[in-house]
Subunit: 338 residues, 2 copies
Amino acid sequence: MKVAIIGGSGHFAAVLEGLRATPDARLVGVAPGLQGENLDGLMQRCHKDLGLVSPVIPDWRDLLDRERPDAVAVNSHFHLNGELVLECLKRGLAVYAEKPIATDLVTLQKIRSAWRARPDLPLIAMQELRYAPAFTTGFHHVRAGKIGRPLLLSAQKSYVLGNHRPPFYRKRASYGGTIPWIGIHAVDAILWYSGSKDPVSIYAAHATLGNDGHGEMESIATLQMRFADGALGLAHADFLRSPKAGSHGDDRLRVMGDKGAVEVRDGRVFAQHRDRESEELELEPRRMIFKEFLDLVAGRGAMLIDTEASLRATELSLYARQSADTGLVVNIPAKDQG
Amino acid sequence: MKVAIIGGSGHFAAVLEGLRATPDARLVGVAPGLQGENLDGLMQRCHKDLGLVSPVIPDWRDLLDRERPDAVAVNSHFHLNGELVLECLKRGLAVYAEKPIATDLVTLQKIRSAWRARPDLPLIAMQELRYAPAFTTGFHHVRAGKIGRPLLLSAQKSYVLGNHRPPFYRKRASYGGTIPWIGIHAVDAILWYSGSKDPVSIYAAHATLGNDGHGEMESIATLQMRFADGALGLAHADFLRSPKAGSHGDDRLRVMGDKGAVEVRDGRVFAQHRDRESEELELEPRRMIFKEFLDLVAGRGAMLIDTEASLRATELSLYARQSADTGLVVNIPAKDQG
């Protein structure tokens, strides 16, 4: 399998890890998503992790034309995700794309249409949270019916802001917004654990308070989802975690069901049961998201996330951003119309 | 000081504890808030905790007329709170009232007007959460400026449902709703820690799923508040905690500021700092809410909650319930018009 990387601005670490772990895959080239994109971090990791000097091709179209890769990792400034994904799908290439897959609903709809014309093509978003062992473990606990019906799902994303974020984060036009960039993990986790329940409405809020000079980048966000069956989801995301707190992120998910509950916190999983004491669950082994993506491209195995879920989380995040921008509740079109 | 208790359906335990701890206060009588109200639990605790057989007067009006108490604990079926509080205020009596102080906005407005005519009268809601040592400790940490400006405030209330709740919980008309009954603690905690910021809108949702035959009683609820300065609050409440989880409630509050953060969880307080490692805060000693109420009535000291805060939390909870019932965002009138 030939793999190309476009852009060096997102979660390329998982891509390199997966490449290294997949003997029949090789990196055929790297291109910036736009002129002047900083690829230093990516190229340094290529050398360090893969021990190879991958060619850098100035125009990603040339990279795709010349190398004809089987799979592409889309990983540039976030506002380019949609255009790049669309072009890859048009060329019949499997895509592993930074989230959000698109930063506007019109482009997302084009991507959905393009993918429906080629549903054999894997199109997977970098929803790495699903591959964090605690989140995987908790999900399997819920899916096995251990908490009954999930009724109240609440998620937290909290990041250290730091001062190393590139300038494109400071403009909505290039960044896309904190709800589609970070809140999307919470949205996706809630949808995932809910068993793909249908959300009927979403309401959200966000603000740039305390963003330490990061322009239009929202530092805090909250959202609520109502599901068709009456279940409720809510999430909050922030960039206010202290750099001294001991880790970059503080990701949590708590799901209360009618027969039990599960909570993911500090990389651990705690379960409540109706008929016996609470317990901490043993973590499942860590799985590698991009290795599983490459295996999927090669027709081997299945991932913890599929294309529908990748599209859905993007869509809901964009609706949530719309709600936060307008202050209005957004009613969600039914899945098949979406 | 002469103290009367009307009703035996709410948090009378704190009332009895406070009576016992206040040498110059005595219980002059108990009355049901309505005919047939079960006072067994209250009277048993009176015997056990106070060692006295308090007279039970069938009509609370007779109790107030005959005994002319200085202070009244209002503690009946929740839909009666408003009427009882109003009558006490009209009679010039200090009131310690079960929350919500009223279960509808019209009655609440009457209470506000009545209290404004007699602002010397203490009217305090049973917002006991403020007196949980971890919540008190965290509040003082925030008020001392240790986290800077509070920007994102999220709260959790989670209770064991059990099967001992009296039938009046099963009807909205007598119960009032889970947001005013439980969510109000979260609303109050958020307002309190925010430094009494002005909320400009509230959006909420609730459902009866998994309420185990409890009729109209909501088992889950979520809400979001936007503050005038852009800060955000959100909360969730549920009755889905396992009876085997080890405690009745699981109350939490997390406040992210622009200079630090504080989190109350499991009766403990964790603080993040910008310039040094995170730490667990030492808990302040436990204070007794009803003892402090009686001291306030006697002109001694100050409480952790005042009348404005008691009214405000009630009002916001009723707006939140309205939002949840209608699915619409509720814009909050400015404080002085409220």
